[in-house]
């Protein structure tokens, strides 16, 4: 329930600024880069619609009201019509370009989300085991949501407001470059101050994202571990852990909002200073700098207008920080290189049973102690092989290497004399199949779960593989036959039944090498018999390597590999190994003693 180490959540990356995240983010999100022209267009049209107003005020005052000839309504009317047209045109343009931008941004986020999801699946099982599921889940859900929220709320501000700011200064300078410089100088400190607060805010937001991940992991455990919590009366403990991370999240959120509140008034304060300065200097210097009253009023108007974009930027800064923090976490995950790199263009494995040749294999997970030490073995095509040994002896790791769930850190593994690393992804998937110990099924029907064995398999093919494995009577006993829903993770079926589904899946694929991880453990005899029969059928036309939990599996195997401390210490047929009086024979003796 506490947080274990999380190498994949991006927290170990040195703290970076939001700008650095933006730069990196744009690199991995090509959909966003191509939209800059639309962005400029959008900003310009909105700015034009906004800035024409002070110009109208100036012209109306100078030429329509306060001019030498007194009031001239015609000048004002003409001006008003022109401005009206400009305002409406600008609105239409901004409407159109904003649509384009939203389309593009949503496309980008959907793309990034899907790529991140794929990346999660590309990471090795070892990486998955080292990371909390809630953390991985948060990357494609809440972190991506933060980014999406930003795309609809904050992003437009970052495009439009700077344009309005620049445009305001340009119009201001057109009236009086001196006043423009004064206003500019007054606003100058805004940037370093915003940057100062923003850096802290960014850190606070990262803290918030982390607390969200932790909270989600906590919720995930409370939900998936519901049965244990109830039967051991651990409700209070589970609740207190959750309440604690809930409170932590609340604190983190308040901190980010505190910064946010401060940030949003910086523009206001300096806007007031600028307004006062423009007023005082403009009034006293009006004759020397040749400024008309309408122009000075327009300048004052523009200076007041200036603080609005700053305020609006402040409003959206929070969302932006949150998005940047989420983006940063996603980028951190994408930076984690998958330790198995797939080749699409590799060689194909031959059809039919595959031979296995392990040549001096070593394996260690990311710089920890080796789990396999110098394993060499040759397994002929079509043989049935049992791997025995204690937990931690390396037998499961060896099985994982056969399916390329990981690559050996040293040495080479050959299937049908082809190095496994140079076999194409498609060919390997078709020819090598694993029935994992954890019989995870998807929350759908038995039929659909079997169909996962081969993409596009027909109902007839599914029925045929069930018949071939002699599982027809088992299916008939299910409440709705093949259409029985298996529940979340397949938990409506027993472990053995889940393995039957997994075997039917494997039969559908018809691989040349089948790897069974403790396939016959924890099963009632009836299902066990069905399993043995199914495995027997499967073994008749392919190489089968079983991580054996029961010695009965070993007895019937052609070859037994006995693992100990990462090495193969004995190998051979059951009878030979029993006679040899080594480790296997001891295991066997103990087992016999237990049953009789």
């Amino acid at each position: 329930m506490t947080t274990s180490q999380q190498p994949i959540d991006g927290t170990e990356v040195a703290p970076v600024g939001a700008l650095a995240v933006l730069r990196r983010g744009l690199l991995v999100t090509p959909e966003l880069r191509s939209g800059w022209l639309v962005v400029v267009f959008l900003g310009m049209s909105v700015a034009a619609g906004r800035l024409i107003i002070p110009v109208l005020i100036q012209r109306s005052l100078d030429q329509g009201v306060l001019g030498p000839d007194g009031t001239k309504p015609s000048v004002v009317l003409v001006g008003a019509v022109i401005v009206l047209i400009v305002v409406i045109m600008a609105a239409l343009l901004s409407w159109y370009s904003q649509r384009l931008l939203i389309q593009r941004a949503e496309l980008a986020i959907a793309g990034l989300r899907t790529r991140t999801f794929r990346h999660i699946h590309d990471l090795s099982i070892a990486d998955h085991n080292q990371t909390q599921r809630g953390t991985l889940l948060a990357r494609v859900t809440s972190d991506a949501e933060a980014l999406a929220r930003f795309a609809t709320w904050g992003m437009l501000s970052w495009i439009i407001q700077p344009m309005i700011i620049v445009g305001s200064f340009v119009v201001l300078a057109a009236y009086s470059w001196q006043l423009a410089i004064i206003a500019f100088i007054c606003y100058l400190p805004v940037m370093p101050i915003l940057r100062f607060i923003q850096r802290r805010q960014f850190r606070a937001h990262r803290e918030l994202r982390t607390s969200v991940s932790t909270l989600l992991s906590g919720f995930s455990e409370t939900i998936t571990g519901a049965a244990v919590i109830r039967s051991y009366g651990a409700e209070d403990r589970a609740l207190s852990v959750l309440q604690q991370s809930n409170q932590h999240r609340y604190r983190a959120a308040l901190l980010t909002n505190g910064y946010q509140a401060t940030v949003s008034v910086v523009g206001d304060v300096f806007g007031a200073i600028a307004l006062a300065a423009v007023l005082v200097v403009g009034v006293t210097q009006r004759v020397e700098w040749g400024i008309s009253s309408g122009e000075l009023i327009a300048c004052l108007f523009l200076t007041t207008l200036l603080h609005e974009p700053f305020a609006e930027l402040g409003e959206t800064l929070g969302d932006s920080q949150e998005a940047a923090a989420g983006w940063d976490k996603i980028l951190g995950l994408l930076d984690q290189e998958p330790d198995v790199s797939e080749t699409t263009s590799g060689r194909d494995l031959p059809s039919g049973p595959l031979s296995v040749h392990a040549d001096e294999l070593w394996f260690a997970y990311r710089n920890s102690e080796p789990v396999l030490r110098d394993v060499s073995v040759v397994l002929p095509a079509g043989s049935s092989v049992a791997i025995v040994g204690e937990t931690g002896s390396g037998k499961t790791t060896f099985a994982n290497l056969l399916c390329r769930l990981a690559d050996p850190t040293q040495g080479t593994l050959y299937l049908a004399e082809t190095p496994l690393t140079s076999v194409s992804h498609e060919s390997r998937l078709a020819s090598v199949r694993m029935v994992p110990q954890d019989g995870f099924l998807f929350d759908t029907t038995v039929r659909e779960n079997i169909r996962y064995g081969r993409t596009g398999a027909s109902d007839d093919q599914i029925l045929a593989s069930i018949e071939r494995l002699d599982l027809t009577s088992w299916v008939a006993r299910l409440p709705q036959g093949l259409d029985t829903r298996v529940g979340q993770r397949g938990e409506s079926l027993s472990v053995g039944e889940r393995q039957l589904v997994a075997l039917a899946r494997a039969a559908l694929a018809d691989p040349g090498l089948l790897v069974l991880d403790e396939a016959t453990s924890a099963v009632d005899p009836e299902t066990d018999r069905a399993l043995s029969k199914a495995i027997g059928v499967l073994a008749s036309s392919r190489t089968v390597v079983s991580v054996a939990h029961r010695l009965s599996t070993a007895e019937s195997a052609d070859i037994i590999l006995v693992f100990d401390d990462g090495r193969i210490v004995e190998q051979g047929h059951h009878d030979e190994l029993v006679k040899a009086n080594g480790r296997y024979s001891k295991l066997h003796q103990a087992w016999l003693g237990a049953t009789r």
Partner: protein, 584 residues
């Protein structure tokens, strides 16, 4: 009129969320009111400065006095301070209100997730429950961020109207045309956005559900080479979410553009009318500037008001999704103690039947009395109802008809805390939390070192644990992935034993353990623990150990006797010989 009812429902919903946190909300609204006053004040100051300082000095050709300038600067400063204070107060306390509401939702959800019955969990996808705790709470309370500002906007419009009427009623008339136009625009927008916004929320939940399942089953996805198919499945959900979002975005683009243009159009009319009014001497140029700037400062607050109206429908949807969980009644846990208060617990299963909600019948009319201290093996082929019976005895799932007594007390009436102390149920597939082995064993109680080592010894877990880098303080991965199946089972068994239960239910709880080790475990259990034991068994060695065997067939009792006597039953003999075969 659906719009009105949505608005009314929305306001009621917002009211109910705010009601729990009146203090921060009051501060936030006060801040917003101060801001509104300051904003209108700023336009008045700008108008006065135009007339009294700028135009005066141009007309007279005399520089304004330093007093006049100082006064102007002081007014600008005062307004700025007022507005800044208003903004900071509003923002911080609005956030506090919203975050407190979120914390409240999450806390209540946590309580419900922990307290709702097991049967509810089995029928609800985990991804959806996670989405409630994550995005639904955020969305439900997000509306509270713009809320105080929106209250402020109402005041702003009110102050603006007053200041307009003071300046010039005919000019005010122009303003009064613009305000309703903005209001109507907001209403049209919030009505149009309602359905798409609800769809976005539903899509978010769907994306979360798929991601959760897929990441959970990562190993199977990998070994089946289903990555592409899973990415496609996920991509489809994401694509749906994207198109829903784009629809919302398009609506917003129209709204933004229209709402941005409206104040500008208003200013144009103000200036046209205003010029005539200035000419007529009814309005000064400064007042004209004041009204014009009033319209420009209105644009942004009106947008925020739009945000508020816009986030109202999704907030309602998200809230109703949360409510679906929170409105489920949490039954007051029963409070009866168990009698007798000590010693091994007998179990009386009295005419118990169980069927699933869909009518599928698992157990019918089971009648068994288990004596205190007895070891009962439950045997039957798969689907016979063994595990179901075990979960019924453990009180995890309620019986459909009949009743179960622990000792002399009806199981349903027993205080769950008391039940979990007296009874230990060990699952075939143990669930371990991503925590230390010790924490997984202790869960919610203090366990003495001697108690812990005794339980570890019995469960045959001390050897492999002592070989681990930090012993019992080693952290196991999520669901205990860093341990083997047999090791997980032994840790789970230890967890049961440290509680010194009076009744132990083992649901195939040692199936992944080596036969030799299993034998040792069962021997130690019999000799060291004074407890009644119900063992769902699949190994002959275990069955032989039991005092009596309950033989289940198709959900009915097909025999209840010693192993030797039951052998005369054909079905039983056949099943047991199958076990023998499987083991040989």
């Amino acid at each position: 009129m659906q719009d009105r009812s949505t608005l009314r429902r929305g306001l009621r919903h917002v009211g109910s969320m705010v009601a729990g946190h009146p203090l921060p909300f009051t501060f936030a609204v006060t801040g917003a009111a101060v801001f509104a006053a300051g904003t209108v004040g700023a336009t008045v100051v700008l108008g006065r400065i135009t007339d009294d300082v700028v135009i005066k000095s141009f007309e007279t050709g005399v520089d304004p006095t330093s007093d006049a300038l100082l006064g102007a600067v002081a007014a600008i400063a005062a307004i700025a301070v007022l507005r800044a204070a208003g903004v900071v107060t509003r923002r911080f306390f609005a956030a506090m209100t919203s975050e407190r509401v979120q914390r409240g939702f999450r806390g209540d959800l946590a309580t419900h997730y922990v307290r709702l019955p097991m049967s509810w969990h089995q029928g609800t996808p985990a991804g959806e429950l996670l989405a409630h705790a994550d995005s639904d709470t955020t969305v439900a309370s997000h509306v509270l961020h713009p809320l105080p500002f929106s209250v402020g906007v109402t005041l702003l419009v009110f102050f603006s109207a007053i200041s307009l009427i003071i300046v010039d009623p005919p000019l005010a008339l122009v303003g009064f045309l613009i305000f309703p136009a903005m209001g109507v625009l907001n209403r049209i927008y919030s009505r149009k956005i309602e359905d798409p916004a609800a769809r976005v929320q539903a899509s978010v939940g769907w994306v979360s559900t798929i991601a959760h399942e897929s990441i959970d089953g990562a190993l199977v996805v990998k070994t089946l080479g289903r990555t592409e198919a899973e990415v496609e499945r996920f991509g489809e959900a994401v694509g749906q979410l994207r198109s829903d979002r784009v629809e919302v975005g398009f609506l917003r683009a129209g709204f933004d553009a229209a709402l941005g243009a409206l104040p500008s159009i208003g200013i144009v009319f103000v200036i046209v009318v205003g010029v005539y009014r200035v000419d007529a001497g009814a309005v000064t140029p400064g007042e004209l500037v004041q009204v014009a700037s009033l319209f420009t400062v209105l644009a942004f607050p009106m947008r925020v008001f739009g945000f508020f109206l816009e986030s109202l429908p999704p907030s309602l949807v998200a809230h109703s999704r949360i409510r679906k969980v929170l409105d489920l009644p949490l039954a007051e846990p029963p409070s009866a103690g168990i009698s007798p208060a000590a010693g091994p617990l007998g179990v009386t299963i009295d005419d118990v039947s169980f069927s699933y909600p869909d009518g599928f019948n698992v157990l019918s009319n089971i009648d068994v009395v288990i004596a205190p201290g007895e070891v009962l093996a439950v045997v039957g082929s798969s689907g016979a109802g063994k595990s179901t019976l075990a979960t019924l005895i453990a009180g995890l799932v309620p019986v459909t008809t009949g009743q179960i007594l622990l000792g002399e007390t009806v199981l349903n009436n027993i205080d769950p805390q008391e039940r979990s102390t007296a009874l230990a149920y060990v699952f075939q597939e143990p669930y371990l939390f991503a925590d230390t082995i010790r924490a997984n064993i202790e869960l919610n109680r203090e366990v003495s070192a001697s108690e812990l080592s005794r339980a570890l010894e019995t469960a045959q877990a001390s050897d492999f644990i002592s070989e681990m880098p930090s012993g019992v303080d080693t952290v196991v991965g999520e669901r205990g992935v860093t341990l083997s199946g047999g090791q997980r089972q032994r840790v789970a068994l230890t967890r049961a034993l440290v509680r010194r239960p009076r009744l132990i239910v083992l649901d195939d709880a040692t199936s992944a353990v080596d036969t030799v080790v299993e034998q040792r475990i069962l021997d130690r259990l019999r000799s060291d623990f004074e407890a009644t034991m119900v063992i769902v068994a699949q190994r002959l060695s275990t069955i032989r150990l039991a005092d009596r065997v309950l033989f289940l067939r198709d959900g009915k009792v097909a025999g209840l006797d010693s192993h030797a006597s039951l052998l005369s039953n054909d079905h039983y003999a056949r099943l047991v010989s199958a076990y023998e075969e499987a083991e040989a």
